[in-house]
C-alpha cells in the first residue's frame, strides 16, 4: 500500500536486515475513539516505572494527596519522580504486584481516590517556551517524571541532555508502532497530532537538530494524514513525516534510525554518538504537557486488544489504574481469553493476573486467545536452517548463539555478539523447531550481567581480605617490634644494673608502690564485699579474653616504663 502524503519527493529510505511481515491486527482496536478510563477506587503507583534508581517516597500513609502532586522524588541522575494521578488518601506504601515478567511485587504507593480529582496548584501555563532557558525546560521535563513511553521507560530528562560535546543533527520521532495489535500511538497521532508536534517543537528548541523526521509505518494512513495536516498549520521548520514500509521491528530505535537515515547506531553505543536522538510520539506529547501546562506524566493512552476482549479499544488511563478495571471498561473478557500480555505479542510479557497497575511504559493490554497466541509446544532440536539468521534485524547468528547459551557458555555467546540482540523475537517466531531462542538470549544476558557483577564483588572482597591480612600482619609486626625492643631494653637494664650496683631505680620503686597501693585497695574492697560484677560464670573464651586483656595491659605498662626509662639510660 502506498499513501502519498505530500508533494515532496519521497525521501530515500534504507533497509535493515531481516524483519518480519506480521498480520498487524490493528483494526481490532483503532476503530473507536479514545475515551478517558473511569477513575478507579484505588490507584497503585509503583515507585519504579523507569530504568534507573527507585524513586523515594515523599508522602506517608494517611496523607491526602492531590492530582499531579509529586509523591516520590527521583534519586540520582538516571531516575524519575512519580506523581499522584488523582486526588485521595495514601493508604499504603509497600510491596504490591507490579507488571513485571517475574510476577514479583515491588514498592508502590496506594492511593484511595476521593472522586474529586482535585488538581494540585499548578504554576502558570507557559505560552512562549522558547523564551525559557533550556535548563529550565529540562528541569520541567525531569520534574514531570517523563520516561520513554514506547516501552523502554528510560528517563527522558537524560535523553534531552545530550552533553556539551554532542551535536544532534537529526531528531527522530518514533511513531512506527510496529508491534501487532498496539494502536495507542496511532490513536494519539490521529487525535492529538497538535500536542505531539508541540512536544516536537520543544525538543527542537532543546536539541537544535538540523532536521526532524517523524517515522510512521504505512499501515497507519490516518495517523500520517493527521500528522501532515498538523504539520502544515504547525509551522515547524525542517520537519517531515516519513511513511515507512510496514516491517517488524521497524519501530526498534536502532532499526528506525537505520531506515530513516541509513546510519547504524554503534554496538554498545547510543544514537547521540552519531548525532541522532529518538523519542516516542507519546513522550513528545507528555513533554508538551509538562512544559506548556506544567502537568506531570500521570496518564497515557493504552490499547486494550485481543480476541479475549469483548470491545477492544484505546483508553486514556491514569497511571496506577488496575488492568482489571480497564478490561472491565472494554467489555470484559470473552471466553477465548487465554493469555494476558502487557505490550505486544512479539516483545510483551505475560501477566499471571490482571491485578497489576498500568505504568508509564505500559502501552497495551493484550488478552490473546489460544488461536492468536498458541502455545508453541516443546522445542525440537535445531536443524540449522538459518531462518533465524535470515530474520534477525541485527544480522546476528541466533543458531550459533543458541548453542552456546544452551550450554551456558556465556563467553562464547558474547563472542557471537549476544549483547547486540534487541530481543525482538523474530528468530523465535520463524524457528521451525519452536526453540525459545529469545528466552535463551535473555537468560544468557542476565546471567552474564550477574556473573560480571559477582566478579566485581569477589574482586572487591579479595581486596578487602588482602587489606585485612596486611593490617593484621602490620599489627603483628608492630607487636613483635615492641617485644624485641622491650627485650633489648631489659638486657640493657640488667647490664646497667650489674654495672651500677644495687642502686634502686626510682621509677621502679614508684611502680612497686603503686601496685602495692592497688593490691591494698583491692583487698580492702574485697573485705567490704565489693568485687567486679561480671567475672562470674565466664566462658572459657571470655576468661581467655580477660587474661589476654590483662596481659596487654601489663605489656603496655612495661612499654611506658621503658619509654620513660630510656632517656636515662642513654
Amino acid at each position: 500500500m502506498h499513501y502519498p502524503s505530500t508533494n515532496r519527493p519521497a525521501r530515500k529510505l534504507h533497509r535493515f536486515h531481516g524483519g518480519l511481515h506480521l498480520p498487524d491486527n490493528k483494526a481490532q482496536s483503532n476503530g473507536r475513539p479514545v475515551e478517558p478510563a473511569a477513575l478507579p477506587k484505588q490507584l497503585t503507583i509503583p515507585l519504579q516505572q523507569h530504568i534507573g534508581e527507585v524513586a523515594h517516597p515523599l508522602v506517608s500513609v494517611g496523607d491526602r494527596v492531590l492530582k499531579g502532586q509529586m509523591i516520590a522524588r527521583a534519586q540520582g541522575y538516571i531516575s524519575a519522580p512519580v506523581h499522584a494521578s488523582s486526588s485521595g488518601t495514601v493508604i499504603e506504601i509497600g510491596e504490591q504486584p507490579v507488571p513485571h515478567p517475574s510476577g514479583l511485587s515491588s514498592p508502590c504507593i496506594v492511593i484511595e481516590t476521593d472522586g474529586l480529582d482535585e488538581w494540585v496548584e499548578l504554576p502558570e501555563p507557559v505560552v512562549h517556551f522558547a523564551q525559557l532557558d533550556p535548563s529550565e525546560l529540562r528541569e520541567r521535563i525531569r520534574n514531570a517524571g517523563i520516561v520513554g513511553m514506547g516501552g523502554a521507560a528510560f528517563p527522558t530528562s537524560v535523553k534531552v541532555t545530550p552533553g556539551p560535546e554532542t551535536w544532534i543533527k537529526t531528531l527522530v520521532l518514533n511513531g512506527a508502532e510496529c508491534e501487532p495489535f498496539i494502536t495507542c500511538d496511532d490513536m494519539l497521532m490521529r487525535e492529538q497530532a497538535d500536542r505531539v508536534l508541540a512536544g516536537v517543537a520543544i525538543l527542537q528548541h532543546l536539541l537544535e537538530p538540523e532536521q526532524t523526521l517523524i517515522g510512521i509505518e504505512d499501515n497507519k494512513p490516518e495517523a500520517i494524514a493527521a500528522m501532515n495536516a498538523a504539520l502544515e498549520t504547525g509551522g515547524l521548520s525542517n520537519t517531515e513525516v516519513v511513511p515507512i514500509p510496514t516491517l517488524y521491528p521497524s519501530g526498534g530505535e536502532k532499526q528506525l534510525i537505520r531506515i530513516l537515515t541509513g546510519k547504524e547506531v554503534p554496538s554498545h553505543g547510543i544514537p547521540a554518538q552519531i548525532g541522532i536522538v529518538c523519542h516516542n510520539v507519546g513522550t513528545a506529547a507528555a513533554i508538551a504537557d509538562a512544559v506548556l501546562e506544567n502537568k506531570p506524566l500521570i496518564s497515557r493512552y493504552v490499547t486494550i486488544a485481543g480476541e479475549g476482549i469483548k470491545e477492544p479499544r484505546n483508553l486514556e488511563v491514569l497511571i496506577g489504574t488496575p488492568a482489571s478495571s480497564l478490561i472491565g471498561q472494554a467489555g470484559g473478557y470473552t471466553d477465548a481469553a487465554s493469555k494476558l500480555i502487557l505490550g505486544g505479542p512479539m516483545m510483551g510479557f505475560t501477566l499471571h493476573t490482571d491485578n497489576v497497575p498500568i505504568t508509564k511504559a505500559a502501552n497495551c493490554l493484550l488478552a490473546a486467545s489460544e488461536a492468536e497466541s498458541p502455545n508453541p509446544g516443546p522445542a525440537s532440536p535445531c536443524i540449522r536452517c538459518g531462518q533465524c539468521a535470515a530474520a534477525c534485524p541485527a544480522r546476528l547468528l541466533p543458531q550459533q548463539m543458541y548453542w552456546y547459551a544452551k550450554a551456558k557458555d556465556l563467553e562464547k555467546a558474547q563472542e557471537y555478539n549476544l549483547f547486540d540482540c534487541i530481543e525482538c523475537g523474530c528468530c523465535s517466531h520463524v524457528c521451525p523447531s519452536h526453540i525459545p531462542l529469545v528466552q535463551y538470549f535473555r537468560f544468557a544476558k542476565m546471567e552474564s550481567w550477574a556473573r560480571e557483577q559477582e566478579k566485581r564483588k569477589s574482586e572487591h572482597a579479595r581486596k578487602r581480605h588482602e587489606a585485612r591480612v596486611a593490617r593484621l600482619e602490620r599489627l603483628e609486626a608492630e607487636r613483635k617490634a615492641r617485644l624485641s625492643k622491650k627485650k633489648a631494653g631489659l638486657k640493657k637494664k640488667t647490664a646497667a644494673k650489674k654495672a651500677g650496683g644495687e642502686a634502686k631505680d626510682p621509677k621502679k620503686a614508684a611502680i612497686e608502690a603503686a601496685m602495692k597501693r592497688a593490691a591494698e585497695k583491692k583487698a580492702k574492697l574485697a573485705e567490704e564485699g565489693v568485687a567486679p560484677k561480671n567475672v562470674e560464670e565466664l566462658t572459657e573464651a571470655q576468661q581467655k579474653q580477660i587474661d589476654q586483656a590483662d596481659k596487654r595491659r601489663a605489656e603496655a605498662a612495661e612499654d611506658t616504663k621503658q619509654a620513660t626509662q630510656e632517656p636515662e639510660d642513654a
Partner: protein, 347 residues
C-alpha cells in the same frame, strides 16, 4: 483471573520441521514421477522399501536412546532421507542393499551423532557412498530410460529381481541395464573419442542423457517450489550450478572435443537433484549467506573435478560429504557483520 505465563514472542509460529520436510517431499514429487515414467516400477519399490526401513530405524534409534519415537517420526526427516537415497540408487538395487543403506544412514550417520540437527554428514549421501564403495557393481547398474529400453519390466518382474534376485527368462542383469550417460561419456572419452563422435549415440538428448535431462528439469521445478516457499535460499544451488557452469565452460572453450559443455554437466547425473535437495540439507550445510555461497561453489567444483579427472562418473555424494566436513569452518570465517559493528559507516 489467573492466566498462563509464557515467554515472548506470543505469536502463532508459521514454521515447523514437519512442514519444512513435507514441502521438501512435495517438491520431490515431480522428479520422482518423471523417474517412474522413465525407469519404471523399480523406483517406486525402492522408495517404499527405503521409507519403511527409515521409519523403522528411526523408531528403533529413538527407543534405544530412551526417547519417544512418535515426534521423531512425525517430523518427516527420515522420510526425506529415504526419498533422497531411494532416487539416487539404481532402480533394480537388491532389497537388502536398500535396507542396509537406510540402517546405516539413520542408525549410524544420524543417531550416533545425536539425531536430527546434530549429524555432521548428510545421511542419504553417506549411505550412498558406503554402498558405492562396498558394492560398486550393484550401484552402477542403471536401467536405460524408457525410450531406450528394449525390455520394459513389469511390477512382478521388478519385485522378483529386487527381492529374490530372479531375473526374467533369458535376461541377465547385463541385458537389462546399461551405462549411465555420465559413465558412457567417461568411457568414450577415455577411448579418445571426440565429443561430436560420442554425441552420435542415441543415448544423448539436447544437453545431457536422453530421459535424464527431463528428470533434471522436474527436479529443477521442485527446486523452484522450495525457493518459492522459502524452504531453501538461492545461495547454495546458484553457487553450486554457477561453479560447475563456469568450470565446464572454461574447459569446454579450451578443448571442445574433450570437455562436455556446462549444460551437459547440469542436466546429467544428480546435479540438479543435488543442487536443490541434497546440498541444501540445512543440518549439514553452511548456515551463513556468504558461507553458503562458498559451500555451494565448493560442491560444484568438486563434482566437476571428480567427474572430469576422478575415478567416479558422478560425484555429488562425495562432493557434499567433503563440503559437510568444511561447513563448520566456513561458518566460522563467514560470520555476517553485526548491526552497529560496521566501521566507518557512520561518517
Amino acid at each position: 483471573m489467573q492466566f498462563q505465563t509464557l515467554t515472548s514472542p506470543h505469536t502463532e509460529r508459521p514454521n515447523s520441521i514437519s512442514i519444512t520436510m513435507l514441502w521438501v517431499t512435495i517438491a520431490l514429487v515431480p522428479g520422482i514421477a518423471a523417474m517412474l515414467w522413465y525407469f519404471g516400477w523399480g523406483i517406486l519399490v525402492s522408495i517404499l522399501l527405503a521409507v519403511v526401513t527409515a521409519i523403522g530405524c528411526e523408531a528403533l534409534a529413538m527407543k534405544l536412546r530412551g526417547r519417544p519415537a512418535l515426534p521423531a517420526i512425525s517430523d518427516l526427516s527420515a522420510v526425506v532421507t529415504a526419498l533422497l537415497f531411494a532416487i539416487a540408487v539404481p532402480p533394480l538395487l537388491p532389497w537388502w542393499l536398500t535396507v542396509l543403506g537406510m540402517a546405516f544412514a539413520i542408525l549410524l550417520v544420524k543417531h550416533m551423532y545425536g539425531g536430527i540437527g546434530y549429524n555432521p554428514f548428510n545421511p542419504a549421501m553417506a549411505a550412498y557412498v558406503l554402498l558405492l564403495i562396498s558394492y560398486p557393481t550393484d550401484m552402477i547398474s542403471w536401467l536405460p530410460p524408457d525410450m531406450l529400453n528394449e525390455h520394459p519390466l513389469t511390477l512382478g518382474q521388478v519385485l522378483s529381481i529386487k527381492f529374490a534376485g530372479i531375473y526374467p527368462q533369458g535376461l541377465g542383469i547385463d541385458a537389462l541395464t546399461m551405462a549411465t550417460p555420465l559413465d558412457e561419456m567417461r568411457t568414450q572419452l577415455d577411448l579418445n573419442q571426440t565429443l561430436s563422435e560420442i554425441k552420435q549415440s542415441p543415448l544423448w538428448g539436447n544437453f545431457g542423457g536422453r530421459g535424464w535431462e527431463c528428470v533434471g528439469n522436474w527436479y529443477l521445478l521442485g527446486g523452484l517450489i522450495l525457493l518459492y516457499k522459502r524452504i531453501i535460499s538461492w545461495h547454495i544451488p546458484v553457487a553450486m550450478l554457477g561453479a560447475m557452469l563456469v568450470l565446464a565452460t572454461f574447459f569446454h572453450v579450451l578443448d571442445q572435443d574433450a570437455f562436455p559443455t556446462g549444460m551437459f554437466h547440469i542436466f546429467t547425473g544428480a546435479t540438479l537433484l543435488g543442487a536443490f535437495f541434497i546440498a541444501t540439507d540445512p543440518v549439514t550445510a553452511s548456515t551463513t549467506k556468504k558461507g553458503q555461497l562458498i559451500y555451494g561453489a565448493g560442491i560444484g567444483a568438486i563434482v566437476y573435478v571428480i567427474r572430469t579427472w576422478g575415478g567416479y562418473p558422478d560425484a555429488v555424494a562425495f562432493a557434499v560429504l567433503l563440503m559437510n566436513l568444511a561447513a563448520p569452518t566456513i561458518d566460522y570465517y563467514t560470520q555476517p557483520q553485526v548491526f552497529g559493528h560496521r566501521s566507518g559507516s557512520n561518517e
